[in-house]
Amino acid sequence: MIRSEFRKLTTIRAPWLLLAAGPLLVVAGVTGLVESGGNVHDPSTQRTALAHTGLAAIFTLIFGILAVAGEYRHSTITDTYLSSPRRSRVIAAKLSVYGLTSAAAGLVCSGVALATTAAWWAERGGQLHLSAADTWLTLAGGVAANCAFAAIGVGVGALIRNPAAAIATALAWFALIEGIVGQLVGSGLARWLPFYAGEALGRSNLSATARLLPQWGGGLMLLAYAAAFAAAAGFTTLRRDVT
């Protein structure tokens, strides 16, 4: 099952193009930060630069969505269920394969983030703080965010089986809806929402709110979301007739 899922990934091009967007985003993001006047002598700028690793999770989220929804789109899901009539095993295999692949993609992004940051800091005469715990926590959190959002994507794509609808819903949530919901419920509750939890884990703090969960709390929260979506899919999609 696991080997079959890996083969599905390695025999088509689309997922790799998608994952390749991550490092590009990181390079562009770090460059933009410096070019727009980021102070390379400020340690918090260094953290913001490295935190682009976690922002690449937007691509692993889509990558994860396509795990199940993509199979419904091309009707290959029939063959998948014929091979494994116990459908929960299919979801479990996809969670591991997509999670692992996304962690690897996140690792690549973290390397790229570090190299790009080092290059710009050298260029601008900044001092890179490699030994600081903050540096490694930011990079590790970014890798974990890539992995966790892929797992969330697998659940979302299993729940909403139309890939276009699933991706649109996910992106709309992160770009717009979560911000509005966050304001409605107040920052005390908002920090439990997935985007804020992702910010806590990746230490990006785009929304500049002071009330994020601790990093580990953000990670646990994302795992809980991934489990909730996978469970919801288990009660709906996995029981539905495939016609």
Partner: protein, 232 residues
């Protein structure tokens, strides 16, 4: 012996009863033709047999167990369904390698079934370049991948040219001669008289006839008039 036993099968989709209390058996060493007009419940019956659709009542047993209880299902039952899809960018050989890995079938079997289905020369091409007939051949290759004792083929002749149709007939006959259980669903009667031993006719979700082909008519004309009689 791996028979397919359909027992008191009923399936209701919303307000539509697609299959109503249908029972029949497909025996080993025979080709069973599952016939009926469009919408008669053939595909639904086969999908229930393969665990893709849940029965409202009744069950389908393959060699005495339900499909969902099979350990390596592709090694027991090979299926070719109309709605089975291919990723357009995936090469034919890779498509089969994906399926082989899921059921722990050795990769050399992939080349064997490519050969059997006459696709060896096109195996490196992405499926988007395949004609409908070639897709049908790839579907049949996938069904044969696990060297199964039971084959379930839904409208396998669709899109095949005369050569392809002749190849399909020979392959199906051959599989039955080797002692396998073969079920072929079709609404094309002409194909049937030359291939099947046993006939099951559905109409509006109900069983209208189940028995040897000789009982209903050996020639196309005889089968067609008998078919009209039982389905109207």
């Amino acid at each position: 012996m791996a028979e397919i036993e359909v027992r008191g099968l009923t399936k209701v989709f919303g307000r539509v009863t697609a299959v109503r209390d249908v029972s029949f058996t497909a025996h080993a060493g025979m080709v069973t033709g599952l016939l009926g007009p469009n919408g008669s419940g053939k595909t639904t019956t086969l999908r229930i047999a393969l665990g893709l659709v849940r029965a409202t009542a009744g069950e389908v047993l393959i060699g005495g167990v339900r499909y969902a209880s099979l350990d390596r299902p592709r090694r027991v039952v090979g299926a070719m369904l109309e709605s089975t899809g291919f990723h357009p960018g995936r090469r034919a050989r890779d498509h089969l390698r994906v399926l082989a890995a899921a059921d722990e079938i050795p990769d050399r079997r992939v080349d064997e079934v490519l050969d059997l289905s006459g696709l060896s020369d096109s195996a490196g091409r992405p499926v988007r370049q395949f004609s409908l007939g070639m897709r049908q051949r790839l579907g049949l290759a996938a069904a044969m991948l696990g060297d199964p004792q039971v084959l379930v083929l839904d409208e396998p002749a669709n899109g095949l040219d005369p050569d392809g149709a002749a190849w399909l007939r020979a392959t199906v006959r051959d599989l039955a001669r080797q002692g396998r259980t073969v079920v072929v669903a079709s609404h094309v009667l002409g194909e049937v008289t030359r291939t099947v031993d046993h006939v099951v006719i559905l109409s509006a979700g109900e069983l209208r006839f189940a028995g040897p082909l000789s009982e209903i008519g050996q020639t196309n004309d005889a089968l067609e008039s008998a078919f009209r009689k039982v389905t109207t």
